[in-house]
Symmetry: C2
Subunit: 422 residues, 2 copies
């Protein structure tokens, strides 16, 4: 017997037939002998509908009232799933964010979970009742409804799993696991049986949108074992214990698993591409101490996340060109901030390029191996792909290239690192 938290997204909850399917999958998990809690999203499209009503009310809407409005979507699906489970003969009840409660800070619209009171819900689960919990919502210290920000239900699920000390948190998604790369780009991409939290974090942060980054960070911090599964499984399929999803585990657990298998870990776990950044080039910035701070200080103050930075020597000895990337969504704000601070920065020209792509190879195996980056550079150079910038972390190497070459680069690297399925 184990204690399992299951999470279903908006596509799985969109309408009566789909909720009934989810209820059957949940019930089968319980029938396999487990204690079960389910975290649900709003029906697909519902949150957008509610957000639109809020925007129509006011461009500068009160985030506390926004939370009252948008949290209703998950409230509805949690009540409905409890009813469907009961209709199938299971005991079930909904536990809203303010009922558990899921205690958060008061940063309405993007609140952080601080604690979840789990005694009542654990007692209920132990009594054989399935707990149905709306994702995305909590309650502030002032007793008002909060929400965690878009996609927050993954985080809710991991937080609930930590609070109830679940053996596993199964996240049912539109894909059936984590792949070595996007299978739409590389037909020979392979599904990974296991991936570590850190690898998953790096993959998530560079565009592999299987899980919300925050949920992976939380899982790593709280040591919650997370399994990514397909929500499109047959409703008569066996319980998730035996389903072939991807398990996200700690380095130690991965080492143990691989020891058992008596095989060496792949050097590289996966390859991700991210087209969501834009490049900003400042030409002829005066080359004096503190010059860079005049650029990135104001951007940080405006909460704009700068990623890769390259500094080239400019045309004269006394100035330099500075290139960096920001999320495309922040590009207009970036230009406004730089324009406003032009007197202090003193650049000659500001130009931008959204046609870039960041390609990353990720793997804990590279910690103990040299030459990972060299393999990457050579593979790209051999096909004439120009590298515009490079950044590295302990388990990741990223390069910036022309976005037209994204798919080609991913395929080349997938082969170069020996990831292609047989």
């Amino acid at each position: 017997m184990a204690r399992i938290v299951m999470k279903f997204g908006g596509t799985s909850m969109a309408g009566t037939e789909r909720i009934r399917r989810v209820a059957k999958i949940v019930q089968r998990q319980q029938a396999a002998g487990h204690e079960v809690a389910v975290v649900v999203s709003a029906m697909a499209g519902e949150t957008d509908r509610l957000v639109n009503f809020s925007r129509e009310a006011s461009a500068l809407y009160d985030p506390a009232e926004y939370d009252v409005v948008v949290a209703s979507g998950e409230q509805v699906t949690s009540g409905l799933l409890a009813m469907h489970l009961q209709a199938l003969g299971s005991k079930a009840r909904s536990w809203l964010g303010w009922q558990l409660p899921v205690r958060t800070d008061d940063a309405h619209g993007s609140a952080r979970i601080e604690a979840i009171d789990s005694d009542a819900v654990i007692a209920s689960m132990q009594a054989g009742e399935i707990a149905v919990i709306p994702g995305f919502q909590g309650i502030s210290p002032q007793g008002r409804i909060t929400t965690l920000g878009r996609g927050g239900s993954d985080t809710s699920a991991v937080a609930v799993a930590a609070a109830v000390k679940a053996d596993r948190c199964d996240i049912y998604t539109d894909v059936d696991g984590v792949y070595t790369t996007d299978p739409r780009i590389v037909a020979k991409a392979r599904k990974l049986k296991n991936v570590t939290y850190e690898e998953m974090l790096e993959l998530a942060s560079v565009g592999s949108k299987v899980l919300q980054t925050r949920s992976v960070s939380l899982a790593m911090k709280e040591k919650v074992r997370v399994q990514v599964l397909s929500s499109f499984i047959d409703e008569d399929a066996p319980a998730a214990d035996t389903l072939p999803g991807t398990m996200i585990v700690s380095d130690e657990e991965l080492a143990k698993i691989q020891e058992g298998l008596d095989m060496e870990r792949q050097l590289i776990t996966g390859i991700a591409a991210d087209k969501n950044d834009a490049k900003v080039i400042l030409t002829a910035v005066p080359d004096r101490p503190g010059a860079v701070a005049t650029i990135f200080g104001p951007l940080a103050a405006a909460n704009i996340n700068v990623d890769m930075i390259i500094q080239n020597v400019g045309r004269a000895d006394t100035d330099t060109d500075v290139t960096f990337t920001v999320p495309q969504a922040d590009l207009e704000r970036t230009k406004a901030v730089l324009d406003e601070n032009r007197p202090s920065i003193g650049y000659e020209k500001l130009s931008t390029d959204p046609k870039i792509s960041k390609i990353s190879v990720v793997g804990v195996g590279m910690r103990s191996h040299a030459g990972v980056a060299a393999t990457m550079f050579k593979a790209l150079a051999d096909r004439g792909i120009n590298i515009q910038a490079i950044s590295t972390s302990e388990i990741k190497v990223s390069v910036l290239i022309d976005s037209d070459e994204t798919e080609l680069a991913v395929r080349l690297l997938h082969t170069a690192y020996g990831l292609d399925a047989a």
Copy 2:
């Protein structure tokens, strides 16, 4: 300065433009110098949508989960109205049923309000903040969401008015007041300036659906002054203090008002027609002591509300015919109960007739005047309208007639009692 509770129904809250209109009407009320709370319904159609989801989940859905689902409709509109008020520059916040809290019993789906904690919301109103409160919802002693049953928002508004000791509860409806009769039937119907709680109760119970009956009972019990107003007023109209709605008041207040006007109260206040009942005829019931109990005992046990009852002598001395009315919605269940109990009742034949109408004349003035019923019977007899049954209360006389003659009867009586507008 007064303290006013305003209530808007689903038609008024259906979409961004309408909510903005409501916000303007509410703001104008505050600008007139009053402390204001607003009780809102869900957007028109939304509750039906949520009820359908619940029914699709299970014919025998859990009423506790049903309440979780359907209460979300009012949660959304209360958050949105608070945003719209803020967008117009007012201070405003939503107070959900569990936040005030509105304490109810645990009869999910048709809960009764037991108490409303009003200290926090009164303090907020005194500080100039408009309180926006979702109607229809509360919280059970077990801490779960409850709802009051369809149309419960009128009751919520009156209960909030009582709790915050409001000077007035303004109910904005699809009509602009209470009329002497349905203006669609009688063009010369007049809008009443005042009507007493008891008159309103009798009018509501016989088909004049301006207010939910429960809300009128509660207003009478708690001595809340209720004004019925049109929600279709121009958004630039003056505050409701000077709007010509109908005020529902106590007998004493009415007497005071009429003293001031130095005129005599009309004998009859209004005439109502109700086509929602059906007639049931049991032929040749054995005429022995306790016979009637064998009929109405089982119907009461089945929670079927029997209204008018007529007992005629049958063909033989030893039996009798019993005729009575029940709501048309309960007719099938009524037939089933009678069929099941036929051995103990011993009737010969069961026949039914849904083509009936109950016409009622209502007025506190008839307490002190004889001859009210005689005027009614004569007016109907003169035009050959057959009276199938009669029932009376202290301030009401009702007759049962063929439903084809409904409109004719209402017009005749409106003239006979001198109610026609000049």
